[in-house]
Assembly symmetry: C2
Homo-oligomer: 320 residues x 2
């Protein structure tokens, strides 16, 4: 659930006056995104999303994220488009925080995932990867291997409390990544957090992608690995090979995977599971008891990691 | 901040299909109201608010609240209007909770209160009171004197922790209310919780009232007393007589107060301060340490109560 910075009437008026976007007629905090304060701002010209960037986002990264959204939208990807002020600027300040306005994207994220959703996701993800190839911006993935080492150091022995032997097991896995992680695979802009709540649908059709605030430059196939974990396991923990096959096949209909990418996918999927295991462990350690928002169970991602450890080829994901 | 019940795609589709309100195109939880889950539901026919009533609202009271909103809107009060399903019903069930859809009300609540806002409030409040006179429904105010006694019993000695002597002082004040509380004053439907976040403005004009889930049958002047406390004190605790005078004068332009109401207003204002002192004490006692939502300081209402104890006539509120 989002943090909310209270925006005063005068501050909002002064902010909106810097855009050619009509007069505000409604302004409501919405429960979307956990990192920032998001508001649905309706003006006489239509609905917009106003975001105040809270402390977890580095201000220096914001131009990358916003320029990327603009580039993707211009290249045909359905996603929110940043609005330029009268001065031409996208990024400005509100309530002492960086702030931007983007267009409102219609659609709802799916609560119950079907194989059809996975098929639509594959097409949308490949489309984003292709459109990203012409984007000049670069941003290191700070939640890749070096970031995992850092988080591993921070969660420390707390992992043991969750499950005996977990601390050592993570360490061993990280060592193995250092040896086996691919050196070179097709790279480009990845979303890096494409969970179901970041993919909107109108009826059966994907209407767009949101929340590019983890986007970075990395192996394109790593983004697929994140999606395999986030979309293709059932609530009871079982891997759904039909969903995976639909995701991968539809992805390949727009961007075929290289043999190296196919070979690397099980390892990338383990890495992607490690990333969410470690950030969930971090949240689990750092959430005070009695807090309203319960941290998500890190063990869900430990089970996913263990599933991929048993995978020897992409056939386990439904591809021949 | 609101609670959120997660509504699945299928549940939402099935729910919306019971109305002639178009197809859903967006569905977002909004940070409005603390008692219920509120969603902004946009359909092909426009924006609506969908509310799931959480445990703090008694299901038996819902027909009163919803019928009232419909009656008020029909009588010219600007407020959300409940939408009837194809079966004629307003109230139905979603995710095992009572649920209803109302129209979307444009406007924003004022974060920085001006005397002009208080003037608009007075007119809107009197208009609601007049429109309520023809409403046949009745609901006891369960947060009046009997409710205060009940809360007093529940917060018990915890009041002492907040301020030495407070427990006894509240008891003495409640005894005094038993002796002095008016027996008869003009009665009708009151809002009973008309804080700034329940009053919307478009530019300088009041665009409507929301959140009727504390509405009940009580002295009309008690509603004014709630507003005096919620709108006419500055953030530093000082009473702003100009705001009070604008509120009362504009109220009287639509419904003049009787001499008995004017005489009773200081006592009613003490009672209204007691109501919020006690519910805040209750929340303060019952919120776990480390919770994301900090309970509001009960002492703000103790200071307001003490202010009204010194008032001997309505002249202190700016009326001659």
């Amino acid at each position: 659930m989002a943090v909310y910075t209270e925006v005063s009437d005068d501050d909002l008026q002064a902010f909106v006056a810097q855009y050619d976007m009509g007069e505000p007629v409604s302004f409501k905090g919405i429960a979307e995104g956990v990192e920032n304060s998001n508001y649905l701002l309706q003006t006489t010209k239509g609905p917009f999303i106003l975001t105040l960037y809270e402390k977890r986002v580095k201000p220096a990264d914001l131009p990358f994220f916003l320029d990327l959204m603009e580039h993707l939208a211009r290249t045909g990807v359905k996603c929110p488009v940043p609005i330029h002020g009268r001065d031409g600027k996208i990024l400005r300040e509100l309530c002492e925080r960086p702030a931007a306005v983007v267009t409102f994207l219609s659609g709802m994220w799916p609560r119950r995932i079907t194989a059809h959703h996975c098929q639509e996701l594959g097409v949308a993800l490949a489309g984003m990867h292709l459109a990203g190839q012409s984007f000049p911006g670069r941003r290191t993935n700070d939640l890749s291997r070096a970031g995992w080492r850092r988080l591993y150091g921070q969660v420390g022995e707390a992992a043991e409390k969750l499950q005996t032997g977990l601390h050592a097991a993570i360490g061993k896995e990280l060592d193995q990544f250092d040896w086996e992680w691919p050196k070179e695979l097709p790279r480009g802009v990845i979303h890096a957090d494409l969970f179901p709540d970041n993919v909107f649908f109108l009826g059966d059709e994907c209407s767009g992608l949101i929340d590019f605030y983890f986007a970075c430059t990395d192996f394109l196939a790593y983004d697929i690995a994140v999606c395999l974990n986030a979309w293709c396991f059932e609530p009871d923990g079982a891997f759904n090979i039909t969903k995976a096959a639909r995701l991968l096949t539809s992805y390949q209909s727009k961007r075929p995977l290289t043999p190296e990418e196919k070979d690397a996918l099980p390892l990338l999927a383990r890495g992607a599971a490690m990333r969410f295991l470690l950030t969930r462990l971090y949240d689990w350690v750092n959430t005070p008891a009695g807090a309203l928002v319960k941290p998500k169970d890190p063990r869900e991602y430990l089970r996913k990691l263990n599933f991929h450890r048993e995978v020897t080829s992409i056939a386990a994901y439904g591809l021949s």
